[in-house]
Symmetry: C2
Subunit: 317 residues, 2 copies
């Protein structure tokens, strides 16, 4: 890339200031801008996006690739006028580790009965609850990409049994792998805690619905099945989850993502006694760590070397 | 051991029923009893104890060893008339894994700001908090025995930096080890979260006091230092901890053990907004897993083979 070829940082819903600063520090030779010089700016070579304005990339004549800030690329494909250039996602080691922290945290909080012990503390109640060991609980992970595989390894290291489900067949040491629609019932039937780390695609939209929840394992050593969604809000049907929590089909849920974000103040999820709710914080990208990885991928692309995060446009991940 | 040599299961504060059942199943050749036939019962060969009545073992003429149910043996040495036979503690793999579950759970709950996010949920507040990665936090572990070393390994696997402190010098890969009174300040100065897994001995009683808390690291990436005590309640001075929480010297604490258990209903620890309190449940021994290990140790002793859990009476652990 020559100095007059520029990077467009196109985000909505965030303040891009911290990102711009890191781009300018790590990549001083070329300009990074948040607005092109008009919709057909010939200087823009790469777009680095998070929920960019639909149509805003359509006429850039020299755009070579689109980089997604974050592991999910569903936000990129929301643009009906997306230009036909490679889409590359950056699954940084930093983001992966943060996601695994979140997943292990929430799995342990349910496995060790955090909600029940916090309620007992409020009542000044000293009572030991029967406690299954990690080795007698199976954590089922939906989505066996970089994030799911990393979380599985670290949960396995703590002692949990691990099952996994993915669209296509996978074989991963230490994980009882299932795949496809045909494998979903077996997967759900053996998972005491289900962790959702799927990409949001036309196939997975709304996959966590009444039908899926009804097929989850019960009883479990913890009383009933637990759902953890740290993937995308569009994977879940919140009204179905609430009904399942109300009638006991689902024992508890930890939700970091929502159909609409920020979650509306009137949603019953905020106050449901068996919901742990976090504001899409499971794995926030750290510009200081992600930008260097992104620049490395740009360089790989420039030099015709393999690019790790190239998205299969048809699959949507 | 011959069939007429019996095992005495001497506990207070628990119902020994589940334990007796497992002893009888795993060791059908000899009797396990909860009461000797008089204070000088010659048939008692081994005592398996949890807070046994002081003096109750003093006159058993054929007692060969005392086994402690649990990793800590402080409860054994509370008996001023303890007979002069070997004391053996069983640190079962099951107990170790349960303790590590607890430690990882509580470390992540603080590192990922669980208390703050739960408070935000109650207020229906959607707000992301600045989040240091695990790799920018140091977890300091006091006590580098079987439990501390296992927790360190699994916390390190998740990405935390690990420091350690022990009475005597240790060298453990992946842990910045400190030791002795002279090493305590350096250890405290680098630990953002301090996890206490020390044995309770004359040297460690009350070690978590105002002076120790005042020497903890501050500021930290989480705002202030966090204390997690899953060792023994006698290690802590609860009035000092409360003062430090009130004046902000200590940012938060997770306490599983207390000076007196069950914790009195009037203790301010129950309701302190920055205390996570659990009723001594970090690592409960599972008789189905512990009894076989205990019987194996008895057999090692019988056959003159090395016994793993032999306690150094002078050190008290």
């Amino acid at each position: 890339m020559t100095a007059h070829e520029r990077i467009l940082l196109a985000t909505t819903g965030w303040n891009p200031g911290a990102w711009l600063q890191v781009f300018r520090r790590e990549c001083p030779d070329r300009q990074t801008v948040t607005e092109p010089d008009g919709p057909a700016d010939p200087s823009i070579r790469y777009a680095v996006v998070w929920k960019h304005a639909p149509g805003s990339l359509a006429r850039l004549p020299n755009l070579r690739a689109i980089f997604s800030l974050g592991a999910g690329v569903d936000h990129v494909y929301l643009d009906p006028a997306l230009p036909d250039v490679p889409v590359i996602r950056i699954v940084s080691a930093d983001l992966t580790m943060r996601m695994t922290e979140y997943v292990v945290w929430q799995v342990l909080d349910h496995a060790r009965q955090g909600p029940a012990y916090r309620a007992q503390q409020q009542q000044r109640k000293w009572r030991e609850l029967p406690q299954p060991a990690a080795a007698s609980l199976t954590v089922g992970i939906m989505g066996l990409g970089v994030l799911g595989t990393d979380a599985a390894g670290k949960l396995g290291n703590i002692g949990f049994r691990i099952a996994g489900w993915s669209r296509n067949e996978k074989r991963i040491a230490g994980i009882a792998c299932h795949h496809g629609a045909a494998g979903l019932d077996a997967f759900l039937g053996e998972s005491d805690i289900v962790v959702v780390l799927l990409p949001l695609t036309v196939e997975t939209r709304g996959i966590i619905d009444a039908s899926l929840v009804a097929r989850m394992k019960r009883p479990t050593p913890l009383g009933g099945p637990v759902l953890i969604n740290a993937g995308r809000g569009g994977l879940q049907v919140e009204s179905d989850i609430l009904t399942a929590l109300d009638d006991g089909t689902l024992m508890a849920a930890s939700l970091d993502v929502f159909e609409n974000e920020p979650l509306a103040a009137e949603s019953r999820l905020w106050t449901h006694p068996r919901v742990t709710l976090t504001p899409h914080i499971a794995a926030t990208s750290d510009p200081a760590r992600l930008v260097p990885e992104l620049l490395r991928e740009m360089e790989n692309l420039e030099r015709g070397r393999p690019v790790k995060g190239l998205v299969n446009g048809r699959a949507g991940y």
